[in-house]
Symmetry: D2
Subunit: 492 residues, 4 copies
Amino acid sequence: MKINSASKYLNSLRELSPVIYYKGKRIKDVTVHPATAPHARAAAMTYSLANSKEFRGLATATSHLTGKTISRFTHVHQNVEDLIKKVKLLRVLGQKTGTCFQRCVGFDGINAVYSVAYEIDQKFGTSYFERFKQWLIRIQNENLMVVGAMTDPKGDRSKGPADQPDPDQYVHIVARRDGGIVIRGAKLHMTGSVNSHEILVMPTTAMDERSKDYAVVCAVPIDAPGVTLIFGRQASDDRRDQRERIDVGKPSFGAVGGEAVIVFEDVFIPEHHVFMDGETEFTSPLVYRFAAHHRANYGACKTGLMDVLTGAVSYLTQAQGTDKGSHIRDKITEMIHLSETLYSSSIACSAEGWPTPSGAFMVDTMLANVCKHNVTRFHFEVARLALDMAGGFIATLPSQYDLESENVGHWVRKYFSGVKGIPTAHRIKIGRLIEAMTGGTALVESMHGAGSPQAQRIMIFREGELDKKISLAKRLIGIPTSNRRKTKQNST
Amino acid sequence: MKINSASKYLNSLRELSPVIYYKGKRIKDVTVHPATAPHARAAAMTYSLANSKEFRGLATATSHLTGKTISRFTHVHQNVEDLIKKVKLLRVLGQKTGTCFQRCVGFDGINAVYSVAYEIDQKFGTSYFERFKQWLIRIQNENLMVVGAMTDPKGDRSKGPADQPDPDQYVHIVARRDGGIVIRGAKLHMTGSVNSHEILVMPTTAMDERSKDYAVVCAVPIDAPGVTLIFGRQASDDRRDQRERIDVGKPSFGAVGGEAVIVFEDVFIPEHHVFMDGETEFTSPLVYRFAAHHRANYGACKTGLMDVLTGAVSYLTQAQGTDKGSHIRDKITEMIHLSETLYSSSIACSAEGWPTPSGAFMVDTMLANVCKHNVTRFHFEVARLALDMAGGFIATLPSQYDLESENVGHWVRKYFSGVKGIPTAHRIKIGRLIEAMTGGTALVESMHGAGSPQAQRIMIFREGELDKKISLAKRLIGIPTSNRRKTKQNST
Amino acid sequence: MKINSASKYLNSLRELSPVIYYKGKRIKDVTVHPATAPHARAAAMTYSLANSKEFRGLATATSHLTGKTISRFTHVHQNVEDLIKKVKLLRVLGQKTGTCFQRCVGFDGINAVYSVAYEIDQKFGTSYFERFKQWLIRIQNENLMVVGAMTDPKGDRSKGPADQPDPDQYVHIVARRDGGIVIRGAKLHMTGSVNSHEILVMPTTAMDERSKDYAVVCAVPIDAPGVTLIFGRQASDDRRDQRERIDVGKPSFGAVGGEAVIVFEDVFIPEHHVFMDGETEFTSPLVYRFAAHHRANYGACKTGLMDVLTGAVSYLTQAQGTDKGSHIRDKITEMIHLSETLYSSSIACSAEGWPTPSGAFMVDTMLANVCKHNVTRFHFEVARLALDMAGGFIATLPSQYDLESENVGHWVRKYFSGVKGIPTAHRIKIGRLIEAMTGGTALVESMHGAGSPQAQRIMIFREGELDKKISLAKRLIGIPTSNRRKTKQNST
Amino acid sequence: MKINSASKYLNSLRELSPVIYYKGKRIKDVTVHPATAPHARAAAMTYSLANSKEFRGLATATSHLTGKTISRFTHVHQNVEDLIKKVKLLRVLGQKTGTCFQRCVGFDGINAVYSVAYEIDQKFGTSYFERFKQWLIRIQNENLMVVGAMTDPKGDRSKGPADQPDPDQYVHIVARRDGGIVIRGAKLHMTGSVNSHEILVMPTTAMDERSKDYAVVCAVPIDAPGVTLIFGRQASDDRRDQRERIDVGKPSFGAVGGEAVIVFEDVFIPEHHVFMDGETEFTSPLVYRFAAHHRANYGACKTGLMDVLTGAVSYLTQAQGTDKGSHIRDKITEMIHLSETLYSSSIACSAEGWPTPSGAFMVDTMLANVCKHNVTRFHFEVARLALDMAGGFIATLPSQYDLESENVGHWVRKYFSGVKGIPTAHRIKIGRLIEAMTGGTALVESMHGAGSPQAQRIMIFREGELDKKISLAKRLIGIPTSNRRKTKQNST
């Protein structure tokens, strides 16, 4: 691994020159700009964990392509154990950053494209798989961070790509030149993109024949000509601009992953970086595999976050003298129960993993969707419980400026104190941490990251094998199961 | 009513000189400072509604003390109709401001103190009731805004007032001087306090004999010597500082009520503004009556807010082309269902209102507690549903600066567009409104305003008349009901 | 009132000769047959309560037609007070019977037909209203029990009445004879029908022009020629057949209302008992008014049942020595909270009642639907909580035969004992009561009685005034509200 | 395996002579008595599945003691794969019987006692482990069904075993004779006991030194002298007595497992069948291991049941013509989602299995408790959804006697018909199946089987490692983690 530490990772970002806008201005150095630095630091944790004695076994893997030790985030899952190690790695990273560390998006993109490229080649005699492996070996050797870029703007959602008034609402090929293609469009909500090295572009939905130009998978350097990033707002993001370390909640890390719009304005992609070009029938498996892998993560990383939140609230109740209350213990229990329910599905969909024809292992689709779907509910309930126990001061706390003011600081310290022995500043800091982890952006991310709830419900229904279940019921009451609705002349 | 319009109200605030700190600095004029002006504007709506032909009947009342037309917010409920009009008034105000308009805290304080002062006098021959009526007549005639000040800091919550290491964790009388008392302490989470005229101080919990000095009710001008306010932070509050009108979500109004700490540093209160002084046995009814009135409100004002939020999400789904989806209609239905469930309890506890000995009408305590308790659950679920339908862009939208940027503005407008005919800016504005109404501070307020969930559960259990319910069950199975646990020698 | 006591009511039933089948055999006397007697006894409570000093004010009313004192169950609501008294009456009856007392179905039918008949006459110059009043005066004077008959079998639910392969799946007019009509079809789930005097037939859904013959409202004596009733099964109904008084749970009363199929096999209805005949446009208001009245009830009677169940569980936890547990108190609190939430909506939709053109008062439709919709959720949760606290013996208790057995009775008494002082038999009886109130039929009734959940959701969406809510949101963000989707040439 | 088929199993039961009472009378042959035969048939499925080509791999295992092929239900888990196979086996059995097949109780008892006996011997030099292995080899070779007997009557639950007024409320040793012990007491809720061969008695809770005589583990033949069984009632059990095949819902199998009280009236246990005698400190691990194994099952077998129920409801909606409704699909999706959430935890706690010192594998305790805890919630919600879709006829269907009646049968068939092509009798049968699977006993079993909800919450809190979570939170905000509440002189 060329980039083998957090600091080398941050340095490597400085060597790139992506075009990034935030609040109307260009960001020069994402590793120091207050809006992006916290996200770069969270991603850097994926690098530093590989050097940790305790977690190296989770954070690294042996490349099946080169035999070298690589970051697990660049690995293609070779077995169930790999899938389970990924889950445990994500939980640890969630615990250590209390936020999104972003790198699993590219990780999942790599695994989805790998297995699908293989199958396209099997069917059409193309050479995407070989191209992809070459690209991947470079990613592994250099240990690059890849942003998996799937979600298109979609414009009018009642219409598909081919029927949009504006054809650019989905990324598509607008021209073909010698040795490559030219793409246009945008990808929204691109987690970690501003501090990534490469973009792996994938289609966002199953395409039909009319949308061949939209069925494109390719890799693009983050600073390729024509690529522009516009960084999005987060709840209370301005507190960070002003270096109010306490009031941001998490002094080192971001609220979520740091999302940006990536605009592709006629970007040229050389042929060897194109991994799908018009094979529309493979868009559906690609999307579903990426989605399944990605949904599986949420029971891991979010459980890590909930571990932090549960700890934060427990500590706060100690600070406030309420920790012995039976209803407090009951609510803490509920937070743990919900978190571990999520974790169950991440582990389970991994334990039920299966090999694709390429040899890459997939998680169980049903359980991965179930996992993410519960996150869209339980994170809100866990937040609700946390805010219940934390008390109203989460919403009314004066600022750090007041805490440190000569005029009113003594009153803030006096009137926000709790039990003897725990400094008021600790209580305030933990309150701000809870505020940051339960409000706004953090919850929206749990709702829509890796697909909105309805996307999971569609998959759960589809994978539910209703016909089989109907047969089970019929057998129990002794009615024939072969022909479901055979018309009978004389019904009883 | 001396102050009989929104503008006169705002002018009246400029004539006061309260000591208010925010982010370490004094606020000179709350009606223009970006942190406080939105809250003043929301409160001003309670004044302007009294001039509205449509809502005058709700917004005003006839004083039973003077026979004059007064603001309903200064009225003592004389019958069930008054209670129900209050509910309707609060819903309308919630619909028109989309936020907390603050003035019901003082309103409820007035009603609670009125009836309890009467009863203290009946028992002890004191003259609190007369004093209070005189004070109230002035409030009614001038149409002042009163902040009801109940919540003390509480310090170590495992200890009562008398056992705190720091005696000031609850407001208390520290000295008695000619013609009055001197109080010290603080009140937290004081909604609307920075733009109120007077403070009505009340004890926060039932007191025992050891805490006589803590059993104090009194009125204090907001700019009385020794009074200092420290204004609290809200989610994304800095966006407002910088005049980013779109990004704040609600351009005119605040996220919640605008809460502040009120510090009382040895404040002198003349005798005629003292309405309880040591009658500890009446602290309990005072707290419960105030709490019941205040909890009843939440099914009204929050339903108003949910009306706005439901409308916002409906419009957004139209803008995105998803409004015809069956799951969208189902979720909208659920939002309405939950909102109207809350409204039910507000109406019901009013319809079941009853007269106190003073003649002032009280809401039904059980149903008022049930009302608020559901708010602490349903507001989160309503927010969750709204965020589900709104989509991930709530968390990743670029700023207004980017929308208006020469460099990237065209891309923001292009790639955040929806259906033809609805401008992207409308979609973005409605998205920001949803963001402001579903995140952080707004939900915490629904959780803890008017008392935390556990406070309601204690009341619900206490009012549940379990013995009566046990008798009902016993009668149905034919076992004797008179002696609950009479020891029997030969049990069957 | 001719029938002015429970015993006269039971006697009056013996004078009728309806054709009733149960388990393949005819029931001769519904007042003694073990399957039907408990239901007759529950309905009888509506008669005896009118003689109770405590509840007479609720159980009777003054007829606006005759000025006489009548049973409230035959009354047309004249004001909000009437609506609220109805709610209180139903809760008391639920508390006293622990089950469905059935008579509100006819009550609601009377109120719905009254106001709609008036409006038909206004529009078409018919004389249904006068006919109906004459019929109603007889019902009031004799104090008859009327079954409101609405739900048709519906056959293939994907088709309307006119498209059914079998035209009889909805009750319809099959012939017209001198002085009357002939109807055929059936009504399902007819609560209390076997112990009623008359049937008030109403259409089950809004009809269109093609279904004129299905738009029929009429009154039919329960023992009219051509009417046959088939009584349905209930959970554990055979225990009752065998007189196992303990094992049935409620020794005197039924599990639910006692439902039957009513078959109309070419039944002649004289003209003066026909209150609608082909006026299809009035089927919709009729159904909605009946449904709204009926849905409003569920927050009253079911709250009465939940009062009993809460009492039963509380007593059982005393018997088992678990009543002091904090989680027990918390669950009891939750049962009360959910019950009272239901009650809120019953009270609220009554308090918000409004006069129809006929003068009869209607409940608020939105809140009535909200009321019933919550019942379809909360009754299950209340049952779940009750079963949680009751413990596993609810599912494994030996029979009363074993309790009284010489061989094993002493062991049953020994090993099902609880705390000292409460006889084992009491614990067992209360356990059986809980079993009866939480299982099977009882919960299905709460789900589907007065309309299935989806029926309420449709109404809630329809009554939700989305356009108004959208305007509220638009106003807050300053975008025009007049034309919702006016196409703009240059959208931003 | 001596007993290697369902018929041999049923024959083997006939060779035993247990003393069983039901409704006051002795049951002579459990394989034919209508109350017990359905349960024997369900248990028999565990035998016949071992002969199924498709499921043999799940239903059998290789004994680590003898190397022989044995029923998995007599196996000691040797690795994670064994734990996962168990989960899959239970789901299949749930799908095939739609009910409890009972045999996992003994299975879990075997695994718990095996590992604990080993550890007792390690500590005290006793020889329980060798005794147990000998006993187990016989069980494996003969393929006997063992009932795991844990739950004591408990009497006054506010008191422990040693403080009960009646010492027999927990099974205990009352005498010691040559070569053995004599026990007295009872075990409640003994699933499958009436059709088992042997009883494995275990303590029900952690015991202290005062309760040495209660710390007893031993094996007892089901027909040992002094053992009496009293079979409990189930919802609608009398329908079965009368051979109403349709009305019972599941013609072949029972509602739940078939629970009985087992009374031990001075039963002699020879020494070689005693596996714990007074080692109180090992009662706690024994109970927790048994509980964890048993709780893990519920996400498997109940998911199997929910598969059946989901299929039943799907079929019914087809029969009724409602299957295309969007709300129907949504509710079906929810049923599947909840079921698979449960399944996740069963798989996950197995995938996270770990070896005890004896070599026997344990499931992850946290996730096993989470699994069962969700069952206590989701089974009710799944039932609620099923009943919602099924419609009101579940509660009002006439009996099979009426269906077959000459007088009214044609009407039942006519008016309960659905879409063309599906016989009414099928619709009725599937309705009865749904009734049986959603009411009363079935849900209580999901609530309390393997421990009541509160038992799981206690374990979840205990296993939650709050201190570790608090450290995670502290680290994120940069406050020291070493000494949790070190008193600081000058707190900030």
